[in-house]
């Protein structure tokens, strides 16, 4: 969810190849016999993540090796495309070949912890104090911490400074201002606003700040608060300020529209900043997501990847992996990673200091403080609610159902088994 632009074709190719690997795992053709229980001195450990983008892969590689050096091991890092990570983990779980150190996207952690494949972190003496509440709750399953994220992120409103200035529009802070600004900024061949309303969990993730900031809740989707939030998106599409194609856009597509000047504002995350910075002619700004009424604080979903230590036959390897994990979550690593990826350190005290050092990240630091994790309320049932949410978004924006009807249906999906 938090990964940089990937063309849909590559994404789907990766998805399909991941599927084939998983199908093999299902049919028991996984192969391999586990990492073995080498009782001797551990000289290297394995790590798996989804930082398959070249720059990201090498940046994470550096910090992993540095942390490995301080723990006295070599870290062999493997990166797979984001869509193939979950299939890969399941395949490795069934063949008992999970890596020593495993990265997972935070909303997936509880599901993986539920399988029993991960070890709780407190026996290793890892310090999980001072972490932002949201990310700690995402890493916790049944009262035990299984995963910690060095840096976190969330979504915000990106806007094209030149377009706003030319139209004489101020950065919108409330929903009404957003609607007015989007309409004002719409021109032939250009839309005022863009979101990801895709029929995937990405679409649900982008809708959450609107749902939550209006007092809506993923536990009950058929409420007036939720309907008002969905109505906002419907109004934006109906008035022509937002393309109906948002139904098919991924966050990467939304970014491409913004970068190409085909939309004046968009909802996206800070992981887009490196790509946006590449274009010297694009003058963009970032602001908190508009809220229903003035002076409210937006409640946004928390993004970020947690690192975990899977169960394995070798206690020594687990210990080494835990040492590397602890090192990744040291203040210095957090700061390095946050600066490299335009994310926010997940220890709150450090985050405030970081906001002073890097003022452009202040909007994100502020949002992260109030950010909620997707699994904090529903835990392993979150995927069902997320399915309900994107189904409702799709049918309301396509004009099949009113927001109220769509959300009643969403609630049935979320609670059905």
């Amino acid at each position: 969810m938090i990964s940089p632009a990937r063309p849909p074709a590559r994404r789907i190719a990766a998805l399909l190849s991941g599927t084939i690997a998983l199908a093999l795992a299902v049919t028991g053709c996984g192969g391999g016999t586990g990492t073995g229980s080498d009782t001797g001195k551990v000289t290297s450990i394995t790590a798996l993540d989804y930082y398959s983008d070249e720059a990201e892969h090498s940046q994470w590689g550096e910090i992993l090796s540095a942390c490995g050096r301080s723990a006295g091991v070599k870290v062999e890092q493997t990166s797979v495309p984001p869509a193939s990570l979950m299939p890969k983990i399941l395949q490795q779980a069934s063949s008992r070949t999970l890596p020593d150190l495993l990265m997972v996207d935070n909303p997936d952690l509880q599901q993986i912890a539920q399988t029993g494949a991960l070890t709780p972190l407190d026996p290793y003496g890892i310090d999980s104090s001072g972490f932002a509440k949201g990310i700690l709750s995402a890493g916790t399953y049944k009262g035990k911490v299984y995963g910690l994220a060095p840096d976190v992120s969330t979504v915000a409103l990106f806007y094209n400074k030149d377009m706003l200035a030319k139209a004489g529009v101020a950065v919108p802070r409330t929903w009404d201002e957003l609607k007015a600004a989007a309409a004002e900024l719409t021109r032939p061949g250009r839309y005022g606003m863009a979101v990801d309303a895709n029929a995937t969990f990405e679409g649900s993730w982008q809708f959450l700040p609107f749902l939550w900031s209006n007092g809506g809740d993923e536990k009950r989707l058929d409420t007036p608060q939720a309907a008002q939030a969905l109505q906002l998106w419907v109004d934006l599409v109906k008035s022509g300020s937002m393309s109906k194609s948002v139904l098919n856009w991924t966050q990467a597509d939304v970014h491409d529209q913004f970068a190409a000047g085909k939309t004046a504002m968009m909802i996206n995350g800070p992981w887009r900043i490196p790509a946006l910075n590449k274009d010297k002619n694009l003058h963009w700004g970032v602001a908190p997501i508009p809220v229903p009424r003035a002076a409210q604080t937006p409640i946004t979903p928390l993004g970020g990847e947690v690192w975990t230590v899977p169960r394995s036959a070798s206690k020594a390897r687990q210990e080494k992996a835990a040492q590397v994990l602890a090192c990744l979550n040291h203040s210095s690593s957090m700061l390095t990673l946050a600066k490299q990826h335009f994310t926010v350190p997940s220890r709150s005290a450090l985050a405030s200091r970081y906001a002073e050092q890097v003022p452009s990240m202040a909007a994100f630091v502020k949002s992260v403080e109030a950010a909620r994790s997707r699994t904090s309320q529903l835990g392993v049932k979150w995927p069902k609610a997320a399915t309900g949410i994107y189904t409702a978004i799709q049918s309301a924006l396509a004009g099949e159902q009113t927001p109220e009807e769509a959300l009643r249906h969403a609630q049935r999906i979320a609670t059905g088994d």
Binding site: V26, S94, S245, N248, A398
Partner: protein, 307 residues
């Protein structure tokens, strides 16, 4: 059987060796079929009766739940919708592919300059990877910036453009049209080969009898092409019912589930929601549908041969 006059061992051993040899010829094929067709099918049927989730991968525990997976997927309102979409998608694709494929095959039967070259060009959609051509179609059909709507606007055929991928009814039509484009080469190639097998003297005889092009198509071409037509249609249906990649690339099943077929539902259940039991149940429904169609075809074929 008198056997006393000859040495007793030889014929017995020879018979044994002959039988062994027979089995040895069978073993590779049988082993292959069992491993790569039998096992997955049996496993899939088993899974459809189990609660097979992410936890199963680690613990191996998959409790049997009887027919619950089937009851759940069949009772869901998404199922009837996906079934209807699958039927429309298959019927639309097959009719389009077949009619256009036959038209191209008949057209290329005439000899004209560059005919062979053009015929090989026609194979292109078949040669391209679906993910690549699907993505290209997605760009071309983009309602705002796609070349198709730009052309329609330029020709003043439509002022606002057609919501190819964002309208709930248009999206299914778009996916069918793309699938027809993908399927034409296959239909043309097979039907063209079938046409080549019809002896030319039959056409000459028909001409002598005063048959026009329409009559000779009805009374010579069509009856003799029937067996090939049967093969093309059955293979076409089996290929089309299970189409997954094209839909995933072009619409992802959307908008609002308008292009969701049984195949994409099965994929979603298994590989996005990780409900492998229900995904397996869904794919078994798909297998039964294909099988039913194949059986109908086989019976019709046998009756035609006997009658």
């Amino acid at each position: 059987m008198p056997s006393g006059s000859r040495p007793a061992t030889d014929p017995a051993r020879a018979r044994f060796r002959a039988r062994l040899a027979r089995w040895m010829y069978l073993v590779p094929a049988a082993a292959y079929l069992l491993m790569f067709f039998g096992y997955p099918i049996v496993k899939n049927i088993m899974m459809s009766f189990q609660q097979y989730t992410t936890t199963t991968f680690y613990t191996g525990a998959a409790p049997f739940v009887g027919l619950r997976n089937y009851a759940e997927i069949l009772a869901s309102d998404l199922f009837s919708k996906a079934l209807l979409t699958t039927a429309l998608f298959t019927a639309g694709s097959i009719v389009g592919q077949f009619v256009l494929g036959l038209a191209f095959a008949l057209f290329f039967q005439r000899r004209f300059p560059l005919g062979g070259f053009l015929r090989s060009l026609l194979l292109l959609p078949w040669l391209l990877p679906l993910v690549a051509s699907g993505t290209t179609w997605r760009w071309m059909l983009d309602p705002d910036t796609g070349v198709v709507n730009t052309a329609l606007r330029g020709l003043h055929l439509s002022s606002s453009g057609i919501p190819w991928l964002t309208g709930t009814s248009q999206a299914l039509v778009s996916v069918i049209l793309i699938n027809i484009w993908v399927g034409i080469p296959f239909n043309t190639a097979i039907l063209y080969a079938g046409l080549q097998d019809i002896p030319t003297h039959l056409y000459e005889a028909a001409k002598l009898d005063g048959a026009g092009p329409l009559a000779s198509f009805r009374h010579v071409t069509w009856p003799l092409l029937r067996p090939v037509v049967g093969v093309v249609l059955v293979l076409g249906v089996v290929y089309t019912v299970k189409v997954l990649d094209l839909v995933l690339v072009v619409t992802g099943g959307g908008p609002a589930g308008a292009t969701e077929t049984l195949a994409t539902r099965s994929y979603e259940l298994s590989f996005q929601q990780f409900e492998f039991g229900r995904g397996a149940a869904m794919s078994n429904v798909l297998i039964v549908l294909s099988l039913a169609f194949a059986l109908v075809y086989l019976r019709a074929n046998r009756r035609a041969r006997n009658g």
